[in-house]
């Protein structure tokens, strides 16, 4: 219990102290909101799909969460290179609590980032259902847990940051672009929809749309079920790989 707390606290402290990381992580969502939200808005409306910004905002929140979470999980690689990983590897606490604490910390940080992006989206003109904000934060936390665990599972298998670019381009980017964050899945070609169904972020963004705007492609219970189940699997994978690290 204490181990989970202290691992969590470390992640949160490190994040809160690096102002440049917080601001840096906001750049991309702002760019997407402005360029796509304002740029594609008229086209979207003409196609009879309604307000694009309302559609896009949950997707961009999902984007900032997946990026922050995976990046946070990958911190394991830095810890390995700076040697700090050894300190946690010899500690007399279960790998599960170390993994869980780290994942929780990374997820807390990513959720905070998601809330900031929500605020920015509101400034940009996004009008969510205000009663949905608290449930949305809960959904954000679920998405963040899922991808923090994934990031850590992947990072446990990598020796250095060399693999990072590979992960970004062949895992994170496809997960984001194929998730329906930017376009409606309901009208997507069958092949694309089929792929999106295997992307956990699809369900995350869909759940966010449910609670924030009320219109979505899948049912909310399916979204939540998938998120919880996949998070469980990734956590288990993370513990499995993490406990096999040799330093």
């Amino acid at each position: 219990m204490n181990a989970i707390y202290i691992m969590w606290l470390r992640e949160v402290k490190r994040f809160a102290r690096s102002k440049s990381r917080i601001v840096g992580a906001l750049g991309q969502p702002i760019l997407f909101l402005v360029a796509l939200g304002y740029g594609l808005g008229p086209v979207f409306k003409q196609a009879g799909q309604g307000n694009y910004l309302d559609f896009l905002a949950p997707g961009i929140i999902g984007m900032s969460i997946i990026f922050t979470s995976i990046f946070n999980g990958m911190q394991v690689i830095w810890d390995r290179q700076f040697g700090f990983l050894k300190e946690t590897m010899v500690a007399p606490v279960s790998r599960l609590s170390i993994m869980f604490g780290r994942t929780l910390g990374g997820a807390t940080v990513a959720t905070a980032q998601g809330v900031l992006v929500l605020g920015i989206a509101v400034i940009a003109g996004f009008r969510p259902d205000w009663f949905g904000v608290i449930p949305a934060i809960f959904v954000m936390l679920l998405i963040a847990l899922l991808f923090s665990a994934l990031g850590m599972a992947v990072a446990s298998r990598l020796r250095d940051m060399q693999g990072f670019q590979l992960i970004m381009n062949f895992l994170v980017m496809p997960l984001f672009f194929l998730s329906g964050a930017l376009f409606p899945l309901s009208n997507a070609p069958a092949a694309l929809l089929w792929v999106a169904r295997f992307d956990p972020l699809s369900y995350g963004v869909d759940a966010l749309r449910h609670v924030l705007t009320g219109s979505a492609a899948f049912s909310l219970s399916l979204d939540l079920l998938v998120l919880v189940a996949v998070t469980g699997v990734f956590l288990w994978l993370g513990v499995f790989f993490f406990s096999r690290i040799e330093v």
């Binding site: 204490n2 202290i6 040697g83 300190e87 007399p92 040799e246 330093v247």
Partner: protein
């Protein structure tokens, strides 16, 4: 007395290369044991196997009667370690690094506060306790690392070149503290060093490893007697040869070692 550490026919290979070859030794509970050897001899690799960081390729290990491969968590509860390489979180302060360790090792809040204060004093970092570790000098980081390793008063303490890069004052403080822990709490100490004088003074028993194999074991006096040398350094050099390991040493290095041996012999 029961052995705190017992190693039999321990071997570790990395691919084709054998870093530790059929090593056997045992360390009694409450003993101070020095593990000496030239660079690349296999000291750190052995310590990593004893402390659950590496799996042995073959052979058996028991630490406090437990096999690290079978029950890693139980073994982890029984030891503390100061690593040869840095292992601090540079983005946390000195105090936070110690606090982190204390919580992780289940040291109660009260004891934690008292020991952190005591250890920061010992390594003379009290005034810098709220500074980020990334701003510390190499020696200061080393001192903090040592303070952290001593924080939870384990049954067995592994020190992998703890005094590397430290000034003589800090080295003396460190060893008196370690000896006090050994005396008052019966902590078993397993350490490596390249300062032979230090090993001779502190260790009750010494093993010398070279090219992954143990070539001599005994008290400092026994090793000196065995080789007919006056100092442990001379004994060490006569056992391991005076060539420099890994890279072929420059002639200057050879001369320096030769001189060290000669002056050692005269003293």
């Amino acid at each position: 007395m029961e052995a705190a550490i017992k190693v039999e026919h321990l071997t570790k290979t990395f691919g084709e290369f054998t870093a530790v070859k059929d090593v056997s030794f045992s360390v009694a509970a409450g003993e101070i044991f020095a593990f000496l050897g030239p660079n690349g001899a296999g000291k750190s690799t052995t310590i990593k196997m004893l402390t659950t960081l590496l799996h042995a390729s073959s052979g058996s290990i028991t630490v406090n009667g437990i096999n690290p491969s079978a029950d890693a968590d139980a073994v982890r509860r029984s030891f503390g370690i100061v690593f040869q390489d840095p292992s601090l979180d540079e983005d946390l302060t000195a105090w936070e690094n110690l606090e982190f360790h204390g919580v992780l090792y289940g040291v109660s809040k009260k004891v934690r506060a008292q020991r952190i204060g005591e250890l920061l004093n010992l390594v003379e970092l009290s005034e810098r306790k709220n500074d980020f570790v990334r701003d510390f000098s190499g020696g200061m980081k080393r001192r903090l690392e040592i303070a952290r390793g001593l924080l939870h008063h384990p049954r067995i303490l592994f020190l992998d070149e703890p005094t590397l890069g430290l000034d003589p004052q800090t080295r003396n403080h460190l060893w008196s503290y370690v000896q006090k822990l050994n005396r008052d709490e019966g902590v078993t100490v397993f350490f490596t060093t390249h300062y032979m004088e230090e090993a001779d003074r502190i260790a009750q028993r010494i093993a010398i490893i070279d090219h992954g194999t143990i070539i001599a074991q005994g008290s400092g006096d026994e090793l000196k007697q065995q080789t007919g040398a006056q100092t442990l350094e001379a004994a060490f050099l006569s056992l391991t040869g005076s060539e420099i390991r890994e890279e072929a040493g420059s002639s200057l290095d050879h001369m320096r070692q030769f001189r060290a041996m000669r002056s050692g012999g005269r003293r």
